[in-house]
Assembly symmetry: C5
Amino acid sequence: MNKRKRKKWSARQSSKRGTVPGTPVFIGESRSEAVRIGSISYDRGDLVEKGALSLDDVHRPYRSEGVTWINVDGIHDLKVMDALGKRFGLHPLTIEDLMNTSQRPKAEVFPDYLFLVMKMMNYNDETNSVDVEHVSLILGEGYVLSFQEKEGDVFEPVRERLRASRGRLRGNGSDYLAYALMDAVVDHYFLSVERIGDVIEDMDDRLLSDPRSDDLQRIHELKRDVMTLRKAVWPLREAVGKLQKSDASFFGNDLDAFLRDLYDHTIQVIDMVESSRELLTGMHDTYLSSVSNRMNEVMKVLTVIATIFIPLTFIAGVYGMNFKYMPELDWRFSYPVVWIVMIAVGAGMVAYFRRKRWL
Amino acid sequence: MNKRKRKKWSARQSSKRGTVPGTPVFIGESRSEAVRIGSISYDRGDLVEKGALSLDDVHRPYRSEGVTWINVDGIHDLKVMDALGKRFGLHPLTIEDLMNTSQRPKAEVFPDYLFLVMKMMNYNDETNSVDVEHVSLILGEGYVLSFQEKEGDVFEPVRERLRASRGRLRGNGSDYLAYALMDAVVDHYFLSVERIGDVIEDMDDRLLSDPRSDDLQRIHELKRDVMTLRKAVWPLREAVGKLQKSDASFFGNDLDAFLRDLYDHTIQVIDMVESSRELLTGMHDTYLSSVSNRMNEVMKVLTVIATIFIPLTFIAGVYGMNFKYMPELDWRFSYPVVWIVMIAVGAGMVAYFRRKRWL
Amino acid sequence: MNKRKRKKWSARQSSKRGTVPGTPVFIGESRSEAVRIGSISYDRGDLVEKGALSLDDVHRPYRSEGVTWINVDGIHDLKVMDALGKRFGLHPLTIEDLMNTSQRPKAEVFPDYLFLVMKMMNYNDETNSVDVEHVSLILGEGYVLSFQEKEGDVFEPVRERLRASRGRLRGNGSDYLAYALMDAVVDHYFLSVERIGDVIEDMDDRLLSDPRSDDLQRIHELKRDVMTLRKAVWPLREAVGKLQKSDASFFGNDLDAFLRDLYDHTIQVIDMVESSRELLTGMHDTYLSSVSNRMNEVMKVLTVIATIFIPLTFIAGVYGMNFKYMPELDWRFSYPVVWIVMIAVGAGMVAYFRRKRWL
Amino acid sequence: MNKRKRKKWSARQSSKRGTVPGTPVFIGESRSEAVRIGSISYDRGDLVEKGALSLDDVHRPYRSEGVTWINVDGIHDLKVMDALGKRFGLHPLTIEDLMNTSQRPKAEVFPDYLFLVMKMMNYNDETNSVDVEHVSLILGEGYVLSFQEKEGDVFEPVRERLRASRGRLRGNGSDYLAYALMDAVVDHYFLSVERIGDVIEDMDDRLLSDPRSDDLQRIHELKRDVMTLRKAVWPLREAVGKLQKSDASFFGNDLDAFLRDLYDHTIQVIDMVESSRELLTGMHDTYLSSVSNRMNEVMKVLTVIATIFIPLTFIAGVYGMNFKYMPELDWRFSYPVVWIVMIAVGAGMVAYFRRKRWL
Amino acid sequence: MNKRKRKKWSARQSSKRGTVPGTPVFIGESRSEAVRIGSISYDRGDLVEKGALSLDDVHRPYRSEGVTWINVDGIHDLKVMDALGKRFGLHPLTIEDLMNTSQRPKAEVFPDYLFLVMKMMNYNDETNSVDVEHVSLILGEGYVLSFQEKEGDVFEPVRERLRASRGRLRGNGSDYLAYALMDAVVDHYFLSVERIGDVIEDMDDRLLSDPRSDDLQRIHELKRDVMTLRKAVWPLREAVGKLQKSDASFFGNDLDAFLRDLYDHTIQVIDMVESSRELLTGMHDTYLSSVSNRMNEVMKVLTVIATIFIPLTFIAGVYGMNFKYMPELDWRFSYPVVWIVMIAVGAGMVAYFRRKRWL
């Protein structure tokens, strides 16, 4: 399961080899579901929500006021993407990146719009691994486009707030909406990191006392999950930092504090990810030394047992010799004396080993 | 114990997921104590100290001269925080950070005030771990607000000095007070690092001669404590550096040397923390090689014992054979001769092993 | 095979020692094939393709419009290179670098042309190693020169697109052609990284359950392949970054987005390479601990067997003693009783070891 | 011994906790010797040297020409330090740093003077450890103050040169004197690094052939010594670099080449320190693998001995069986034949093990 | 041998302790050979070569055209160096650095001349180590001074080219000559790295199949050689980079491409050095795991042998017991049956171990 995921994000790029640069090709797990397009248009007063739009209903909004958010579930259909690209004046390379699930997070400023690539993270409790989904945002004047691989997202709370007219959302422009969506994605990272952190801590507590044979495998898998998160957050941090400094005025000045806060959150996620990595590295060492400790203990006990009996066997061997003239053999109490000697030797060795703390 | 602490600083963030950004939610261990607000107002001449203020008594000071320091113990009560936020004109994101115990140290300049997040550190001798407390400062014109999770802090010496009219404190503005509070927090870091350093050195001295089975666990715990300190000081250093360079004039020029000194101190704490980390890494190696050394010694001795007796047992076995025609069996002095041979072989092997320094 | 490759890129440089700097000398595996020169001239309307040009047919194009792409297969013939250098006004150091297969990737701006060194990568499924080929581009006004070590390249798709008049290629200048060639090289890196990635994953899945004795060797070889890729991509990233920032106007402004995309791709290759490295490092550890685990298991089982039989042998030895007065020897049921005792001791030890999970 | 040292530099800082910032408190090993103040005043012509000055004799020099160097041995007496501070117009934080032996090296520019903290290093052949002493310089117009913990310093050669009127010293200003003192301190670092380097090399040569049980401890101690040096030189390098770039004109332009030279020397010390560290890390590995090699050799030989005798014992055991019908027992030459067989088996095994190079 | 070398470059610095800064003292292996001075003066037309000049014949050239190259073999004679220093107007610190063989590579711009310190490297096939020689260049207007420790250098090819009037050398100024000398030194680095690389590869191929006991020592020595190279090239890279950027016009603009090429070469040497380092680190690991593998194999085989015979010895022991009532003893075919049982048990165990791949 975990493997499938890894491949999705990093491989397949080669399938594009040989095509014209800027030729959009879907890179990712092949899908056949129909593309679903939904939209929410709102201003301070009204909100109109439409589900399952046909491609013909989607236009670049020309309303002077209000914000339109168009969400596209499914990015594998070239025809749909091309049509959207044309209507919203997207650069061919943008469409290429929209459809390329192996594209790393970034922010790019085009004359007409701001293009943002992110990764949505979800810790899957069933497979015990992190699911990654490719999400892109287009922020233009008065509209936001969001693209996802499949239905089901982390944007639901934002929709709720829009509908409920809660918070600042309704009274602000498309830039604030884009910020809210980015914030929703980053907030979700915390959940993933924390879930992984919990798994790590549960394991860590058990590791020294009771190492299991599949723990090493599990630690490696967790390391990969953490790496996946890291690879999603690091470039996002960079992208958000770029947005902060960018001269292009896609984000109003009143959003400065919010972008700064978002940037802060990405740093915090990175901090937590780094802590997890260090913990995992420590656990790897702990596991190895714990396993080798147990092994050593076993070998020590076994060797002690052998060491105690080998001299005793020698004594028995001595009196098993068949010499004609062995005075002890004829003595009356030789046998019990030998037993006493053997017990004394054995007990003495056990005592010695105890005292030396070898047993 | 240690674990609870770690969780507090890094986890729980997810409980905020889905809320509007800038919505203050308390993130940390849930508390039920009432919030306690105290204030000290002073100028060069007078000092008025009030304890257990009710929320209604707290106002933004409008006195043209003098400094007001309001200290809030308890940050979990949203109502109180909201009310304070309104009266002092705090940005919603500031209130959010005030209440978020997992927020990392930082300095943020707002038009009206300077916002500072720090971590108070305390080495707890009972649990042998570092207690972390979330502390925030708001520095405005003529006032300083300080927020803590619970009563009992490192600010007592500052209060003492204020009351005693000692030092520069009374004659300077709110910026100097804020500096004094930051200095008190950083000074306390030294104590924690030194306490950890003492524990490390005590352990280090014993480790090579007498490694104990729980030492590894202890080393890991100390590493985490050191990491906790590191995570508190690194961003604080950055924050102080930012204050030094910042154009915003919350700190007067006459404080330059003091901020530089504070910055120096954070670097020194980091130096000490890094030294501790290296020591701990070295101790980890020492422990492992010390354990493996002991194990090897044990195995060597045991194997030597076995190796000495196995040839002797063979000799005894030879004369335990039942052949009819074994001339030695009938000889008169075979038995003592065999004993002599066996003793000679045994002694020879011991001598050889001694000479080779295997025993 | 692998070794030959490594040498090619890094060694042989010394053969140049003592010559005048800027004296072109071929550095690489000696070759004897004739140099093959081909050219494609095109504008939006026409395309003329010529194969196997003689040196006399190659001129710096003076057509005001259209682009000429001259591809040279074989860089070992000093005479040919010198002649080309003169006709296209190349700096002696450029010719030296063109012929030096150990030259690392770079971009250099000369007054008249832009000089680009790259490495072509090909994962060879037969030798299971990465083949490296030295490729250089010269971008001048209206022409592009490409130099390769031998026939067979990654530029075929670009030629196809030129012939088919597909994409932007035909309608753009020589800068776009140069970009398309660079893009073809970088796109091919993905293929190599992915092939290596597949080999790594296949191995990783098997490693814990069934480590083979040549795995370590294989891991080392893969590490070297990954290093080879890394050494090709890192400086290329730098070179592309330089092109982006360069004031020299060899690349038109309309290519900015494309260069940015190319830069992005190099970063992505580096990301994948770094992931592969980390995986390989992890696999190295896994292999070692897996091998040592198996060994430990074997030793444990063997030691357990010995430990069970040594006490039993001692018991047998006791009743092999020849004392005259050993009451047990004469008892009627001594023999079966001893058997029972021995079986009980053996079974007891097995049970104990089982319970302790040593067996 | 070594431990005492470490503590001195890094601990004790906490004793200052709770005091007003800028309150000078002596931090270091408590001392009771009286403070000794000496001075040398000179210009190109004359030199006046005074020893054991009383506090009242020390004044800020007002001579328009010439240089006064005041050296203070002993920094633990608050009264003395305070008085000096007042007479030379030192900032309270400067006095605090003068008395704080745990202060790290730094350079600070004050309006009136330049403040420099350094560490004097001395490899103590008796304790085999590095002694650290806290040294501070104050460079003002026409005077230099130097502060040390105790008598006996590395400045003697500078004094000699002053008295002998050798070199550039007498003809230059106070800035050159300060440079000469810094140079004397840095020059002394070379001696310490070289002494440690000698110890390391002696040990390294012996380590592979004859590892001793206390070598690991010694390596750790050397690592600490090297770390101590590193912690003294790194910040000093920074400080010297700062002096070079500083606009403040405490150092004349004619000293540029000298400061650059000093900077170079600090880099060279760092280079040597880093080499020593790498050597020590390598030695640590060498020691461990050397110890484990020896252990393995021992175990191998012992196991070979046991392995040779166990089959022989089995053969003897076979003919020790008491079956009635064992034809071999009655044969005439069974016994010598068995001996021959046993010797053949033993010799065969030895030969086999030899050929396999196990013995 | 190797050790002597190391000492030369890093130690001895202390012998200068206590002298006036800028006092030239020879630091290096003491020598007694006479200093040999040779000169070559040339312009495009003529070339005059003089060997074994006396000190009186050496003057700063005042010819308006042409270049004079004065080469000094032997830098230990203070009188000679001082005289040269005076005639060419060298700064005292320059003379100090000229004579200090432990000086690290650097470039320093003085008003009148450019000063360059380099290290000449030579892989000595006899001692299997790298010989280091301290080389300095002084580039002034119309002249170049080169200083070496002893006769025999890497400059011979440059001399040849000068005499043969080959290449650009004769027609260019002193800056080009300085460049050519630097290029000769760097070109020689390639030879050393490649020689070391060959040694490494030969060893690497053998290491897994046939590790020898002195391989570890050899790997350590190679690591040191590589480190020596690294310490020579890193600062040289920096120095060349500084020359490129320097405003001082010691190098004409027409040399830009050549300096860039030289810079490139230093980077390439560093790349090769880093590759060698990684290879050596990998070989260290390979060696250790290869040794431990062999040891494990031996122990496993030995333990298997013991494990097979111990149960058989037990069976023989059982029938060596002297009980009166042991029915088997009297049976007719007991003895052969026991043999069959023992052979079956032994063969069964061998088969089992084989199947488990323990043997």
